[in-house]
Symmetry: C2
Subunit: 229 residues, 2 copies
Amino acid sequence: MPRVIKSPEIRSAELLDCAQRLFFERGYDNTTVNDIIREVGLSKGAFYHHFASKEALLEALSARLARDSMAELQPMLEDPSLDAIGRLNALFAGSRQLNVELAPQLRRTFFVLFRPENLALFHRVDLAARELVLPAIADLLRKGTEEGALDVPDPEAFAEMLLQLRLIFRDVTQQALRQAELGQIEEAAQMLDERLRLYGIAIDRLLKLPDGTIKAVQPGFSRAFLEAG
Amino acid sequence: MPRVIKSPEIRSAELLDCAQRLFFERGYDNTTVNDIIREVGLSKGAFYHHFASKEALLEALSARLARDSMAELQPMLEDPSLDAIGRLNALFAGSRQLNVELAPQLRRTFFVLFRPENLALFHRVDLAARELVLPAIADLLRKGTEEGALDVPDPEAFAEMLLQLRLIFRDVTQQALRQAELGQIEEAAQMLDERLRLYGIAIDRLLKLPDGTIKAVQPGFSRAFLEAG
């Protein structure tokens, strides 16, 4: 059989697809670079030509997931039938839907990514996601302020603050996942729901909206995220 | 001369005092464990009995600085002549004063601590500071809500959010220090002042206070912090 020559982009995408499948099936720790190259049919040298390490592969994978999520959420951020508040609520609703659809994979990814020894990796992944999302949120806040739907003194700085605040969910989600592992799903779901509700109120207040305007949580979301299999 | 036997606490404190002086004089990178034990007159084995590494020493030093700062700021947090808003403003004023008094040392410490390769160290130092400060802030928010001076739905969670938001100053301070190093003190001071002003407004809004109530910045602070030598 003749050797198939593929472009570097196609090879990278194949490696990412394969890694995603194996990480999600077996977990990150239980997947080796050897497992991945065996499945894809590449040499170790060829693998390291694309990715410096297994960590670099996970980082690229997370960036791709962030890009894909952003592509799904973009229409909500630009929906001409909605004002800024409607768009923010549509963004949260869309994000919840994605979180439930991808729950089993996300739970496993978060479990790896939120570990103390993966702090540097988490930080890089967060930076990638932040760079992608920040301009869209700042734009939304700018337009919302111009339209009088909300009120921030500095759209860029306030967009950064909203994104900074969401990092509280690194510890909170980790705690909920641990509780859920111990079978305490109800307590975990209640705790996560409540923290999401308070995050929504914090956003309301930062944007000068009445408490309860931005719906960061909906009944049943946390339970569905923690249980969906 | 007879060998002087000192208690482990006194030895640890001596090592911390010496390390603090050397780190502040020469910088963290330019100080070795050998430098420190030579000055204190201890063997390497004895040093590692107290601290597992130079990093562990810096972590202990940061925890001590946080404790000392907290001890200085505690009276403001408990001043019976002030309401919750007065206490928060006194806390920021006291913190600014400490920042200017210790500016040369703090600038050097931040320069080390905010480097990407020291992220894990920064995180541990921040956790130590957070554990120390969180209960005091939560208490202040609880009393302030009871007295009607401010209004938060959950003092613990909102205290966590205020502390989470302040982490924006990791990047912002690093940027200001870099600009100042390049001689652009005026631009750096203006940028830092403005970000502190916006942080103050964010706190106002989270606590349901009119914009401008909490004074996180005062004219001249950032310039003094960046220039004090």
